[in-house]
């Protein structure tokens, strides 16, 4: 498989003007402005293969957007190297733009006052698509995204869910090989979110589009991506599969038990009772201090258990734990 994105020791430092308070400060800043350096990206390296679906996550201000802006050629890095689909993004921005697409959830890229159909036509010109090819592609996307009824409605009159489907279709009109998705499901209801996720998944599986996803919604990450890169304070702090992420950070397991007697007053050494109601009880176990098999043995020796369910903590908690651990260090 070919490499879609290759990043090596990429850094971006911003110089931010520091403003002192008061008139004196303003006057001083006029003659001798003070600057503070902000290391937005502090030496990031990773690779993405073509056809992969990667989640690139991190807390606010971690350096995600800055990295993406360097990978799309919008920002020039302070140092380091990157290659996207074989091109150095900031040197070949315009050429690279033909092969990549991007969707930014909080920012519409469609022309607000025009119906999506007009935006599609305009994009066909901008991406220099042959008209026959464009018409085929557009019809395919309209069918796939079920946006036929909205094509002639001005974008400003569409619901967020309808608009997002049009946004993603617009980002795909020129058949990009790589697509950057920045919070593609933000603000959407559950059904709309599922629809968008399914569509992105299909594109990745069926068309082989490399997906580079940034999202604070773990549902997006779980549904779409096999691999996760976690970035914080401008550094990559995790880069592996989603399964490995869960395993590595899963010290905690949840045990759901259904007993044949009322669960009230149920206790078990090495486990904390999270809640008990009727015949059911939920336990939290720290697998670093307690061996799960031994504890299960103890429970089964002392109680009749009708049903048992062992769960991992939600991914959200796992990610929160990674962020928190980094903040402590």
């Amino acid at each position: 498989m070919a490499t879609a994105v290759s990043v090596s020791d990429l850094r971006k430092t911003f110089r931010v003007k520091v403003k002192s308070a008061g008139m004196g400060g303003a006057a001083r800043a006029l003659f001798r402005p003070l600057y503070r350096e902000v290391k937005a990206v502090a030496g990031v390296s990773f690779q993405v293969e073509e056809g992969e679906a990667l989640a690139f996550i991190g807390p606010n201000g971690a350096g995600k957007s800055t990295t993406i802006k360097m990978l799309t050629g919008i920002l020039h890095p302070t140092s380091g190297e990157a290659s996207v689909l074989g091109r150095v993004p900031w040197r070949e921005r315009e050429n690279l733009a033909f092969d990549i697409g991007s969707v930014i959830g909080q920012k519409s890229q469609l022309w607000f006052h025009l119906p999506p159909a007009d935006s599609f036509d305009l994009l066909a010109r901008i991406y220099e698509l042959p008209m026959a090819e464009f018409a085929r592609r557009r019809d395919h996307l309209v069918e796939l995204f079920e946006i036929g009824p909205h094509l002639r409605t001005p974008v400003r009159k569409l619901s967020l869910g309808e608009r997002m489907r049009c946004e993603i279709a617009a980002a795909l009109i020129h058949r990009p090989r790589l697509i950057f998705l920045d919070e593609p499901t933000i603000g959407l209801d559950i059904v709309a979110r599922q629809t968008i996720r399914d569509l992105i998944r299909r594109l990745n599986r069926e068309e082989g589009v490399t997906v580079f996803l940034t999202s604070h919604d773990v549902g997006d990450v779980e549904r779409l991506c096999r691999r996760v890169i976690v970035i914080n304070h401008g550094l990559v702090i995790y880069d592996d599969s989603l399964t490995a992420l869960k395993r590595q950070y899963h010290r905690t397991k949840y045990l759901d038990l259904l007993l044949d007697a009322p669960a009230e007053g149920f206790t078990c050494a090495g486990a904390r009772v999270v809640k008990s109601k009727g015949y059911g009880v939920k336990l939290e176990v720290d697998t670093e201090t307690t061996r799960l098999d031994e504890m299960l043995g103890r429970i089964l020796a002392g109680h009749r258990v009708l049903d048992i369910n062992i769960e991992d903590p939600p991914l959200e908690e796992v990610i929160a734990a990674i962020y928190a651990r980094e903040a402590d260090q």
């Binding site: 911003f14 902000v38 937005a40 606010n60 201000g61 957007s65 800055t66 802006k69 799309t72 050629g73 919008i74 920002l75 020039h76 921005r93 315009e94 050429n95 733009a97 033909f98 991007s102 930014i104 920012k107 890229q109 022309w111 006052h113 025009l114 007009d118 036509d121 305009l122 010109r125 901008i126 991406y127 220099e128």
Partner: protein, 277 residues
């Protein structure tokens, strides 16, 4: 097939930027109320000019002031107002795009940002100028009769208006791009627009100025944006040599400011500073 290249695919490039201009035109046409309001303002301005100059010509008893008859003067002003009021607020837009980081999204598309701006600017001006011309022309026609324009100079006039709009574009876009270095570019824009009013010949033809000032203003490129085309329409300097000289000077300054704008953009884009978001 080389994409994004004028050399290899000029047709595709032309289609691209025409499409962008076309969309801006359509968006502008959607705001008819805005057009109507501007129209009223233009009628008022023209009415004031007509009264002012009628009184002036009457009081001085002169048939010509600065070489202009009353009819020529009113038609001159109809053109200067039509041109000035077709200028889109470009420097504000660029300033905002640079500061807000909106520029970043424009940079993610396969087009030249400067040409993209020009297409949107032209798409707007191309609607505004004819509308303004009809409105200001109607007031002028009703006040002083038909325009003194020499029919043979009409093509030259139209080219001169296009070059004038383009010249104004490169200056305004350049002022907007200064936002990469300065906190606020609106003072530059204000200074430029006031300068155009006086030294560009918007309020008065440069011919009425004292010799020294006239020479100075004629040497500056600002006279090519308003005074040049308006004077041609008012039936002055309509000889082939004068028209070619006007177009030549416009093209020369366009090339000079175009190079400066290109340089500013290349320097500025390295300073794109969009954190977060």
């Amino acid at each position: 097939m080389t994409r994004g290249s004028w050399l290899h695919r000029p047709g595709a490039q032309l289609a691209k930027y025409s499409a962008i201009a076309g969309v801006t035109t359509r968006t502008n046409l959607a705001y008819l109320a805005d057009f109507f309001l501007r129209g009223i303002f233009l009628v008022v301005v023209m009415f004031v000019f007509v009264q002012l100059w009628r009184t002036t010509y009457g009081a001085t008893g002169e048939a010509r002031i600065g070489g202009f008859s009353l009819a020529e003067m009113i038609w001159y002003l109809a053109i200067t107002e039509s041109i000035t009021m077709s200028f889109p607020r470009l420097s504000d837009t660029v300033d905002r795009q640079v500061k807000s980081g909106e520029l970043a999204y424009a940079l993610g598309r396969p087009y030249s940002y400067v040409l993209y701006l020009f297409s949107t600017y032209f798409g707007e001006a191309v609607v505004r100028f004819p509308v303004n011309l009809v409105i200001a022309g109607t007031v002028a026609f009703l006040s002083v009769g038909p325009p003194p324009v020499v029919l043979a100079s009409v093509p030259g006039f139209l080219v001169a208006v296009f070059l004038a709009l383009a010249l104004n574009f490169v200056i305004l876009a350049g002022i907007g791009l200064l936002a990469f270095w300065f906190e606020d570019t609106s003072s530059f824009a204000l200074l430029y627009s006031r300068f155009l009013m006086i030294a560009g010949g918007m309020l008065l033809p440069l011919d009425v100025f004292p010799v020294a000032i006239r020479r100075l203003t004629l040497a500056l490129p600002t006279n090519l944006i308003i005074y040049g085309p308006a004077r041609l329409f008012a039936g002055q300097g309509t000889g082939a040599a004068a028209v070619w000289s006007l177009l030549g000077r416009q093209a020369l300054w366009l090339a000079i400011f175009g190079l400066v704008l290109g340089g500013l953009f290349r320097l500025g884009v390295k300073r794109v500073n969009v954190q977060g978001g």
